[in-house]
Symmetry: D2
């Protein structure tokens, strides 16, 4: 399914259950943060190395996959009620970041663009 | 751009800057949580009604759009390094939720499925 | 119990279980974010008015109380391993905020100090 | 300053600025999550080892200290408006966790209590 069709399926899911009343931007932002918190909990005690192999544990792999789906679900609902074209927004952000993080300054550094000098 | 092409652009962006070393699943989960925290900060003092009109304020509209793009960016990177098909994962999750939240029990209620009775 | 004695109890709890290896600042920050995410999930679908009466529901009251305790627990552990005096840090921050948010400019406004003018 | 006197100072700070209208539990929970997100952002690209030395960088040390103070501030405001005794709540939670995480089962393991067997 494409992003748009998933977004429509989620909207219909909400309409059928009369959940639109709960889906204010404020509430959806909280739901997104809640799901990202659940994702954090899965990874909090893992070393970076363990985290790189998390999908080799079948039980955890299912959890991680479902949490990513949940984050995407609320992100799509949020974009829908705010009337934001997510893919377009990200394409523009990537262009913007090309200028904020020029290769010759940002290479191998995790610094924020405000600290890159130049 | 499609989700896949955005994912590729983000991967290339990271490779060009030698950022793959930072993009462990653990770190990307933190980055996702950090961006969702920034989104929360935009909405924290708004009433639900104000949140519904947030895009009418030009300055805030730009912020909200960029934060959603940032969340999507890290979500796509995370799915990429974990080798998860996000759209497929969400399609499956929606199916699963149809059973967890049957219309006749969930209608008009924000309860978790464990509290829906049946 | 005072904050210091709680902090000592938590440190001892970790030592007894050989959990110090997991309690790096990075991991504890994640645990704190995870717990604050659980708190968000309790409140995400409530209206502001419902949230003001959340303690009248016995089951939810217990949950909220435990989540606040969990957040405090990880905050204390974090301050401990980073050797930060939390109460002192907060006293200083309040002083700083007195200057960032002067009463005559901040009255009745939820704006960030950078937007207060003056 | 003690926790109670800090809590009173924060309440007075809010009253002086007529901010009580913004301090619903729902909004304060979001503010807490926002601050914990800022803390996450400081640590997201650090290795666990680097995170253990974060206070040796003067600039970062100031940031970390202020973010911990901010988290504590909102946690205290939240406990205040919900009428929860934080220290008491944590003392009880520690007792509860003694039973959920018995030393002989939990030693050296980061598992959740539901996975400890016994």
């Amino acid at each position: 399914m494409t992003l748009i069709s998933l977004q429509r399926a989620l909207a219909q899911f909400a309409v059928e259950r009369e959940w639109e009343q709960f889906h204010t931007p404020k509430n959806l932002v909280m739901a997104l943060a809640g799901e990202s918190g659940e994702l954090v909990e899965i990874f909090q005690w893992l070393t970076p190395e363990e985290s790189a192999h998390v999908m080799q544990d079948d039980e955890r792999a299912v959890q991680v996959r479902e949490e990513l789906a949940d984050v995407l679900a609320y992100l799509l609902r949020l974009a829908d009620v705010l009337n934001i074209d997510l893919e377009h927004a990200l394409a523009e952000k990537i262009e913007k970041n090309r200028h904020k993080y020029p290769v010759h300054l940002a290479r191998g550094k995790a610094d924020k663009y405000t600290q890159l000098g130049g």
